[in-house]
Symmetry: C2
Subunit: 499 residues, 2 copies
């Protein structure tokens, strides 16, 4: 099946909107007109919504899952082109991520991980192209440079953040950590710039911009420290957790397990292609109205709509001020992720930073396609932002700009294929994974997490722990479904929920 | 409530069997004589059995949970003496442990962790008492010594094990890793002994004996490497994962959540004080007979009986040869864990190794009791084994032997209280957490994990991933309940389970 989402380009076919994915659901709905009231409606079929719907269904509730897109996965989905998965959004997982790994183990997929990196053959170097010029170094040198730069950035307490943020799931536990959310990444860089070499500064900036998809001025230092803490306070941990292990069959091969398990209970109704317009909670009943006027009712609603999209929905009664404030601030991640298939197998062991001059500033060899080409994944963001579908020549130029001919045996690589999803112009995401500006978390995290009458808000955007990650999405979906099920169970049996 | 399990000693009261715990269940059964056949019977109310029973119950099955003891928790439970939790068995958890952390997050207990270590006041040193004599060093020196020793031990591939065991949940993936299971820890030490200082060797041996509860000759090097890989291939990771974060309210405050959630579904029947004698599977029906002659029937059985205890049960039809072989080999962990309350608050920041001469060879300051005393937790094992209840003077001597007077301002500490559980003489555990001899995993892991007709075998002893840990127990319980529920669901609706 082909999704409306995503773009691909080849010389032969030019730019095409829509790419094939095993995450497209057909038929797009199984709702019969006879349905009356559900126990719970879940808005959104990303990992958070899938988890919420699945858990509620397997725990006995009648569930309706509504999704604006034609596919599951939200901001994490894979396209299958020539039987090879390109990850359009969220990609990497790790056994140290509790919620996603629990599911991977449960679905017996622990042996389906592959390593994005393969340094066993080919050029086997790191290309570092900055205002100081082009250079190549080996990957050990790359790691040393990054580790040194990040170590200086995060060492606010003489313990690389372990003292100031000892529990990464409770990041505001120490007062000093609260203060970190007043700083942007640039503020922190200014504190330590005297101790950074020019190479370290370029390495540091490119790495943290990769993480935030924002700009140095608009990204919270606290949240960047939170990522570092989650990764075990080391650069090696960042590599392991953030960019190493992915699914052999792509994210959609994982997401579909949740959907199929829910469907097998025969308690899951669903409707794709069903964007939501409004939500009304009368106190006894929640009514959801789609853009095309369909109405559905339930005892509870779980909204998994991302922060940047919530303003598009109307709520009656209106959302509380705290939540409205968070929505009006929004998050800053406008990551640009572009896959390029390059007919040069030697680039499999290539990694590169081209910063700050190139619109794609961080990239790695991510796989070998069935055609034997190297698959490069490259990242840009709000800094030097581009809409990759607008001018393909520019996008091709940004890909080629990753490789200085003098560093690659005089070659400027050919590009056989591009694949990408423009998350910035996607009305159901309005950006990539959550990354907050300074102050948003310190002031509004609780407001983002809180429920509003019979409406629960679950999204990786305000997860504790692996916030912004697939793990956080699953955690939030689990949290919401647990709350709804125990609440309804207690109501119906006349008991209070057991704590 | 007071459990029959465990021992406590004070000068005033002497040795007493049985300690109070919030994990004791009263009434001990809710089974009415009217019960007929269950969907599933779960044997064992440790974390594995609790998870299996809870998941099955919340997913709609009628469950009977049978347990030989008077309490939940199996090899992980906490006693509450003077409102302070002493962890009798499994203690520490970490957010990088997927299954246990998923549950901690789900029960909103992420903020209930406390750090076993507190180096903020007191003696703040590591006491290292070996054949080379007594010495003290600061904790940074302790960490350097341990990191250096362990680094040499595990660096079999120039990458500290990352190449030979890249995926810690799939430890036999590389052929070279299979070979590691032919080695005992002593075999590996002999390979590198030329490169170890005497201090490093003593540090290494005491640390890995702490992990295995066995002897250097009988513990598998492969499994020790597996622990190291799970901990991120660093000593810091070992500290973080293995011995840092515990529950403020004790393990039983966590385990009771599983039990209460299952109970609230009204689909959980249970009977404590009900040791099992035999199991018969007719193909359509599993019958469980208790020692006192009670019989229960179900469609499926989940046995969470540990490896070392399985020989006490009779199975009809008999267990397959592979499983029988594994059972006859057994695991080697005979850990001795002794808590001592010492009226010296300065020892809160103390850690120590007394090896090989003392029966308790590894210990740390683990807390401050309500009386203001330091709580020391000390470990021994099969090497130089003792039964701590047999001769309390010897046990007190082993505790006092942790502290050389010359290292502690001339003081030999007073001991106000001892608390412990003798896992070696416990008929329902016959040892502590699983630790295999060489060959057991390479030859029998699949046999241990496999089902036998309608009987599923789930236990942390043969978990992939955090085998031997609470995490592995939860993972296994989840695996078994998932298999049973999807199977029965498919049978009853006439469908095949969705994959």
């Amino acid at each position: 099946m082909t999704s409306r989402d995503g773009y691909s380009w080849t010389k032969a076919s030019g730019l095409k909107q829509g790419v094939p994915s095993i995450g497209v659901i057909s038929p797009s709905t199984n709702v019969s007109s006879a349905e009356s009231k559900y126990d719970v409606i879940v808005i959104g079929a990303g990992y958070c919504g899938l988890t919420a719907a699945r858990n509620a269904a397997i725990e006995g509730l009648r569930v309706l899952l509504l999704e604006g897109r034609d596919r599951i996965g939200g901001r994490s989905w894979s396209s299958n082109i020539g039987d090879y998965p390109f990850e359009m959004g969220g990609t990497w997982v790790h056994w140290g991520q509790a919620n996603v790994w629990r599911e991977i183990a449960r679905y017996q997929m622990t042996n389906e991980l592959v390593n994005s990196f393969d340094f066993s053959k080919g050029v086997n170097h790191f290309e570092f192209d900055t205002a100081q010029g082009d250079a190549t170094m080996n990957h050990e040198q790359e790691d040393e440079l990054m580790a040194s730069a990040l170590g200086k950035f995060f060492n606010v307490d003489g313990s690389f953040g372990r003292k100031i943020m000892p529990l990464p799931h409770d990041t505001f536990k120490t007062e000093k950590a609260v203060d970190l959310d007043k700083l942007s990444a640039l503020d922190r860089i200014n504190q330590i710039s005297h101790s950074l070499t020019l190479d370290e500064r370029a390495a540091l900036e490119s790495f943290i911009l990769l993480c935030s998809g924002g700009t140095l001025e608009t990204m919270s230092f606290h949240e960047m420290m939170h990522w570092w803490a989650m990764c075990g306070y080391t650069y090696q941990g960042c590599l392991d957790y953030l960019i190493t292990w992915k699914f052999r069959g792509g994210q959609s091969s994982f997401a579909i397990k949740f959907f199929n398990e829910a469907l097998a209970t025969k308690r899951l109704s669903y409707a794709f292609d069903s964007p939501i317009k409004s939500v009304k909670d009368t106190g006894n009943n929640v009514t959801v109205t789609t853009r095309d006027g369909q109405q559905y009712q339930a005892d509870r609603l779980i909204s998994t709509v991302p922060l940047n999209v919530l303003e598009a929905l109307s709520f009656d009664p209106p959302l509380p001020i705290g939540k409205q404030s968070a929505i009006s601030i929004g998050h800053v991640n406008q990551c640009v992720k572009v896959h390029a298939e390059i007919p040069d197998k030697d680039l499999r062991s290539w990694t590169g930073v081209t910063y700050p001059h190139n619109k794609l500033f961080y990239a790695i060899g991510d796989g070998t396609t069935p055609a034997g080409n190297t698959h490069i994944v490259a990242f840009g963001g709000k800094f030097n932002h581009m809409n990759a579908e607008e001018n393909v020549e520019d996008t091709l130029g940004a890909v080629k700009g990753l490789f200085a001919p003098e560093n690659n045996n005089g070659r400027s690589p050919d590009v056989a294929r591009l694949v990408f999803h423009n998350w910035s112009r996607d009305e159901f995401s309005k950006g990539a994974w959550f990354f907050p500006p300074p102050g948003l978390l310190a002031n509004h995290l609780e407001a983002m997490r809180s429920r509003h009458g019979n409406i629960l808000f679950a999204n990786s955007d305000w997860a504790v722990g692996w916030r912004s990650f697939i793990d956080g999405a699953i955690q939030e979906g689990c949290r919401a479904a647990f709350e709804v099920r125990t609440e309804l169970q207690a109501q119906r049996s006349g008991d209070m929920p057991h704590s």
